[in-house]
Symmetry: none
Subunit: 225 residues, 2 copies
DNA sequence: TTAAAGCATGAATAATCTATGAAAGATATT
DNA sequence: AATATCTTTCATAGATTATTCATGCTTTAA
């Protein structure tokens, strides 16, 4: 990985003290750190800030860490996001394990800065080595009529396939609604404007929210990474 | 077996927690995992995703595991698919056995990840050794006008032969109805759209449902394995 | 700050497409 | 010519896809 790359970390905890301690220590090491105070905020934040690591308190109001982790794991957009749980030593560990939601690590409270930093470092190094960390690749095979995302097939019905195929044909370039109509629908059929939106939505559901960008008032584009 | 081959596993359970735990643990081992929440969904999924192993909850709404297993065993397409039942320890074991529908293994709930993984591994290894596990081969000999499936001749009338021959000439590639008309019927005769469907059906009756795939709104393709 | 425009989203409806059973039309075979 | 086999059509049912609609959110511009 680029040596200048600064790892991004999201801290989610309802206690301000904890947030402060973590933020201070992690920033000191050169990480880019954002903090939020509950699970709902966390998911919101993730829409604009995609970190390499999320440190999640298990017990939180609104939405606990386990649930947040589930959401993250379910989403297509965060395939290689590391999740670490913050647990009080007294917390019933077995319960967390039973509900295993896909955490990569557990960090115990109270926090010992030195220990914390070395664990974080280890986790991030692991990510660097992790082969799943290749760039998110999407491949469209028109002959086979198949789409692959990181070598796993994504099944798309015709219109969605054609739409994605179009957008991906010129990554980064904005396609206006008119262009999309022309290419995907042709001149015969006329459909309402919302139809495109709906197909875009379905695509996003399947390949993740971060690939297709809306350019308001203009159109859509497929974002190259 | 190819060392790069990733085993595919289908998990069928109505409880989301169980699905999540299984999926997480199995994926961590490198398996390709799909989950569905009931028997009906399972049979549907099997049309597009042919796994090596199915893990089936016994008790489910809609259609219980036993019935799903029966269906699987009856079908021609899943001759060497391993089926494992998930059973609660408290469940009346004898009843399940009485209804024995051809399960290869029983896995007990609650799930113990380590144990689960070692059992799965064992089951899949067994499959590797199983001689019935030769790859499904279909060969078309245009000169002799004969088709062989696993060295046994399949007798096909002309149109069916031509159709299969066409599809199999480029495995994985979708042939549109137009292309099929052109190649199999030529420009002289004109037949209705349904005619192709019917020939496809007959082919499927003879060589199994899992080889010829429908791409809705586009055409058909012969699935490479 | 408010109003307007543009988009996202959930849910309902409409349109499309294919599978299937059955039967009629061809073609070849005896 | 009669029979059997192959090819095609047709009607229907079932499922999937495509589209619309109503509502709410977010951004933009006044």
């Amino acid at each position: 990985m680029n040596p200048d790359y600064k790892y991004k970390i999201l801290v989610v905890d309802d206690e301000e003290d904890i947030r402060t301690i973590l933020e201070f220590n992690l920033k000191k090491e050169g990480y880019i750190v954002k903090t939020v105070e509950n699970g709902v905020e966390a998911l919101k934040k993730l829409k604009t800030f995609v970190p390499d690591l999320v440190i999640l308190d298990v017990m939180m109001p609104e939405m606990d860490g386990i649930e947040v982790c589930r959401e993250i794991r379910q989403s297509n957009d965060f395939k290689n996001l590391i999740v670490a749980f913050l647990t009080a030593r007294t917390e019933d560990y077995s319960q967390i394990a039973g509900f295993d939601a896909g955490a990569d690590a557990y960090i115990e409270k109270p926090i010992r800065p030195r220990l914390l930093l070395s664990r974080v470092k280890a986790l991030l190094r692991r990510k660097d080595l992790n082969p799943t960390n290749q760039k998110q690749s999407i491949q469209v095979d028109r002959e086979k009529y198949m789409v692959f995302q990181n070598d796993e097939e994504v099944v798309l019905p015709k219109k969605e396939f054609e739409l994605l195929s179009l957008l991906i044909s010129r990554p980064g370039i904005v396609f206006t609604r008119e262009m999309i109509f022309d290419e995907v629908w042709g001149n015969e059929t006329i459909v309402g404007d919302r139809t495109i939106d709906v197909h875009i939505r379905k695509l996003r559901e399947k390949i993740g929210d971060n690939r297709i960008k809306t350019v308001k008032g203009v159109g859509y584009k497929f974002e190259e990474i």
